[in-house]
């Protein structure tokens, strides 16, 4: 018995100590003030949960050890104590106090988490985030469209309006380093924000089961230095009009390839490499806008509601660089 207790105790300790050393007992390193506030709340709660964990497990082990039977008779009575009102009142009041402190701390942190900082001299940016089976579409105020990777300028508050088309399903927008998640729900517009000072690529993914390729509905925020972002936005704007932007490639990778394979080699949906349909913009548009129901599979209407510019980007891309299959 003794050996087993030591064994289990040390395994549990190791299980907790090892990841703690690696920083895995806390959320992802925050890069935005709202994620900061959440992590602070998490750490504050952890003070109490760890203390209570040690207290309860400690008492449990201590009692089990101290009051084990040893040489007493099998059925000899323990102390016949039926209760102790004062003691019980104390351990009813104790959690009330702890929970009160936690609630107060959360309310103190809340404004810093939910309120978007006032726009500074460099202004702010508002982007529409649309969750769809199985990609993220980002729409900038000037009409620029991007898929799966949202580019944003450093040091500026970025407001997000998160939603999903009426015919789609619920998704959830989440970049762990940039704050909590918020659902993208058909018929609703939810709001969230971030402000990142350090340029970099911050990955995330859809957090609400949205269908067969939910696991591949990745998203990311790429924070660029302000000037670089402005340049990208202008270039994409011009490219979208001229039909020379990277949007076509983004659409193929984000919208088509998750089911048909990045090189058109097929996946959960059939292979497209070598298909003559791809060369015909009209057919592609019809299928992408309306979806397709065959006896074996259903393709959702992934492109319903796309502006002409966006559809052109895809059809042009497919004509210019059709998937090779290899």
């Amino acid at each position: 018995m003794r050996v087993l207790f030591l064994l289990v105790g040390s395994t549990l300790l190791a299980a907790i100590a090892a990841p703690a050393a690696l920083g895995q007992l806390t959320p992802v390193t925050p890069e935005s003030p709202n994620a900061d506030g959440i992590k602070d709340s998490y750490l504050f709660v952890s003070i109490f949960t760890l203390a209570i964990f040690v207290l309860v497990e400690g008492l449990l082990v201590a009692f089990v050890w101290r009051y084990r039977r040893r040489r007493r008779q099998r059925f000899e009575d323990g102390a016949q104590i039926h209760g102790a009102t004062n003691l019980e009142l104390m351990w009813t009041a104790f959690p009330v106090v702890v929970l009160f402190l936690i609630a107060v701390f959360v309310f103190v942190e809340l404004p810093g988490i939910k309120n978007v900082p006032a726009a500074g001299p460099r202004g702010e940016l508002e982007i529409r985030v649309i969750g769809r089976q199985f990609y993220w579409q980002f729409e900038y105020p000037n009409g620029v469209i991007a898929i799966d990777t949202l580019r944003a300028p450093a040091g500026v508050p970025v407001r997000l309006e998160v939603t999903a088309p009426d015919q789609d399903v619920i998704h959830s927008w989440w970049i762990p380093a940039l704050g909590g998640k918020i659902d993208a729900i058909p018929g609703r517009v939810n709001k969230t924000w971030f402000q990142v000072d350090r340029p970099g690529l911050y990955p995330g993914q859809c957090a609400e089961l949205c269908g067969v390729e939910h696991a591949r509905m990745l998203g990311a925020v790429e924070v660029l230095p302000e000037a670089e972002f402005a340049a990208w936005l202008d270039e994409r704007r011009a490219g979208q009009t001229a039909g020379t932007s990277e949007l076509g490639a983004e659409l193929w990778a984000g919208v088509c390839a998750k089911c048909h394979g990045l090189k058109g080699e097929g996946g959960i949906a059939k292979a497209l490499a070598g298909s003559a349909l791809l060369a015909d913009p009209q057919t592609v548009e019809t299928i992408v806008r309306n979806g397709r129901v065959t006896r074996r599979a259903t393709m959702p209407a992934v492109g319903a509601g796309w502006p002409a510019e966006q559809m052109d980007a895809l059809t042009t891309y497919l004509q210019e660089s059709p998937p090779s299959g290899e």
């Binding site: 949960t49 008492l59 099998r74 102390a79 104590i81 019980e88 762990p176 058909p186 609703r188 949205c210």
Partner: protein
């Protein structure tokens, strides 16, 4: 009963037939438990398959559709085909015995409950063979995903839940009427065993919440469209395109779904409150506090549902309310934990297998309770919601908590059910394997969730997650071995050592009668003078013998 059994027609007296037509609460209880254990093994295998798929990044063990089916049916079964019915099984077997009654109030309704449950379970499991496979929208089945998926799986999921709901409602009414009316002489409300208290609240909760679930899933059914003899119904409750609301269902589902957790957890608490005192040789510490906290948890559990919906964009004031309300539940739960700890204090603790499981329950449930605080604090929930942190949290409460309590109950009452003991050595091996395997499987999932791994994904590309996922898979298979040991133990117990009426020297009335009890339960029931009638009886006996020795 005995005479009635003899009067039964010959075809009903056979070994199998007598179980098929039985209205004896003990046999129905055993049927419930046995059937639930079969579903437990099936749903557990689904879990193991999912863990295999997730052991490595970009693995190819299961297709995405198959994985989503397993996610859905694993969760639905563990709640509806294992958690609720196995505890209803314990309730069936134990409640009449514990309150000194001859049977439940409506024995035939009781049989109907069981057969509806078995049928509903068969429908759910059978749905794998339906056109398009089983339901794929998760055990929560949120629309519009659940209204849009094709095939019949989702419809069968709804049908199955309707059948199971009917079963549970009939069962709940039966428990309530039984507990209200059939308690033996002297058994006042405050002398009732704490397990009976927990079944009492369990039954009220089921009655209160199941109709709301039925409404929700019926709306899904109508939104999916019905066609009966050319009569077409197409509703749009959850379709925003036609003025519906996709979020409405979530309110209905969680108004049911959160209390449902307590429907399962409370009887597990009840088992712990019976086992701990017997193996610590003490009365339970603070009987009234534990009984009261059971009622309080049941009541408050109906006021906290939207803490599952913190990310749908509810007004902040509403989120604040649901945070505070959810935290309120921690208070009566904490009371119980401290009362159980105090029950151990100054006891004479024996480490038989039921006690090991009860202690395991205590150590693991605390962890599940503490991680619940993070989920109640809504800004933190925005971060960890729908990640593996949540998966770890509810497995600590439902597997580490409830399943450990169920094994405590099985090892504790097995002698009463079958007159034979389960093997202690095997039982202890099973316990340690399950305890270690469980922690190895689920502790790392907290870290995965904090690192950004969402739940319900059939694969992941992030190789940083591989280590902990592999660890978790190894743990899950260790648990698989533990369950296998139990199956072997159960089979072996058919020839195990016989036991007397009261092998544990326990305190409640079920130990007063023979093991297994006769069809009519008791020849006579002693007048109940406290919450521990058998303890009182033994004490009076000792005093009498002492007096005789003195004279």
């Amino acid at each position: 009963m005995a005479s009635r059994a003899e009067a039964a027609p010959a075809w009903q007296r056979g070994r199998v037939a007598s179980w098929l037509v039985t209205t004896d609460h003990k046999r129905i209880g055993i049927l419930y438990i046995g059937t639930s254990l079969i579903f437990f093994v099936l749903a557990g295998l689904m879990g193991l398959a999912m863990r295999l798929q997730l052991a490595q990044a970009n693995a190819d063990v299961l297709s995405p559709d198959r994985y989503n089916e397993l996610v859905t049916i694993h969760g639905t079964s563990m709640v509806f085909l294992v958690g609720v019915p196995i505890l209803a099984g314990f309730g069936n077997f134990l409640v009449p015995l514990m309150i000194g009654a001859r049977d439940v109030a409506f024995p035939r309704l009781n049989a109907l409950s069981y057969w509806l449950f078995a049928f509903g379970g068969a429908v759910l499991m059978g749905s794998f063979f339906a056109d398009g496979g089983a339901a794929k929208a998760g055990w929560t089945s949120y629309p519009p995903l659940s209204t849009q998926t094709e095939g019949n799986g989702q419809d069968l999921w709804i049908l199955s839940l309707h059948i199971l709901t009917a079963s549970s409602i009939a069962g709940a009414i039966n428990f309530l009427v039984t507990i209200h009316n059939l308690r033996t002489r002297g058994m006042t409300w405050t002398r009732m065993p704490l397990f009976v208290w927990s079944i009492y609240v369990f039954a009220w909760l089921l009655l209160a919440i199941l109709p709301v679930l039925s409404a929700g899933i019926t709306m899904i059914l109508l939104d999916r469209g019905l066609s009966i003899g050319g009569w077409e119904v197409q509703a749009n409750f959850f379709n925003p395109d036609e003025g519906g609301s996709a979020v409405l269902y979530q309110h209905a589902f969680w108004f049911f779904g959160h209390p449902e957790v307590y429907v399962i957890v409370l009887p597990a608490f009840g088992i712990i409150s019976e086992v701990l005192p017997v193996f610590a040789r003490k009365p339970v510490f603070g009987y009234k506090a534990i009984a009261f906290s059971t009622v309080a948890i049941g009541f408050f559990s109906m006021l906290v549902w939207a803490h599952h919906m913190f990310t749908v964009g509810l007004p902040y004031s509403l989120q604040a309310y649901f945070m505070v309300a959810s935290m309120v539940i921690a208070v009566p739960t904490g009371m119980k934990i401290f009362n159980w700890l105090a029950t151990l204090w100054r006891g004479n603790i024996a480490f038989d297998t039921p006690m090991l499981y009860a202690l395991g329950f205590l150590s693991l449930f605390v962890i599940g309770g503490l991680t619940g605080i993070y989920l109640a604090a809504f800004p933190i929930d925005w971060q960890v919601h729908d990640t593996y942190f949540v998966v770890a949290h509810f497995h600590y409460t439902l597997l580490g908590g409830v399943v450990f309590a169920i094994f405590a109950g099985l090892f504790y009452w097995w002698p009463k059910m079958f007159g034979r003991r389960l093997d202690e050595r095997l039982g202890k091996w099973q316990f340690w394997l399950l305890f270690v395997g469980f922690n190895v499987a689920f502790m790392p999932q907290h870290f995965l969730g904090l690192d950004g791994m969402p739940r319900r994904i059939y694969t992941y590309a992030n190789e940083d997650w591989e280590g902990w996922n592999l660890t978790s898979t190894v743990g899950s298979w260790i648990m698989g071995v533990a369950i296998l040991l139990f199956v072997w133990n159960a089979v072996k117990s058919r020839t195990g050592p016989r036991v007397g009426n009261d092998p544990w020297q326990a305190d409640t009335l079920e130990w007063y009668t023979t093991s297994p009890p006769p069809p009519h339960n008791f020849d006579e029931v002693p007048y109940v003078t406290s919450a521990r009638p058998l303890y009182d009886l033994r004490r009076r006996l000792r005093e009498k013998e002492g007096a005789r020795a003195l004279s």
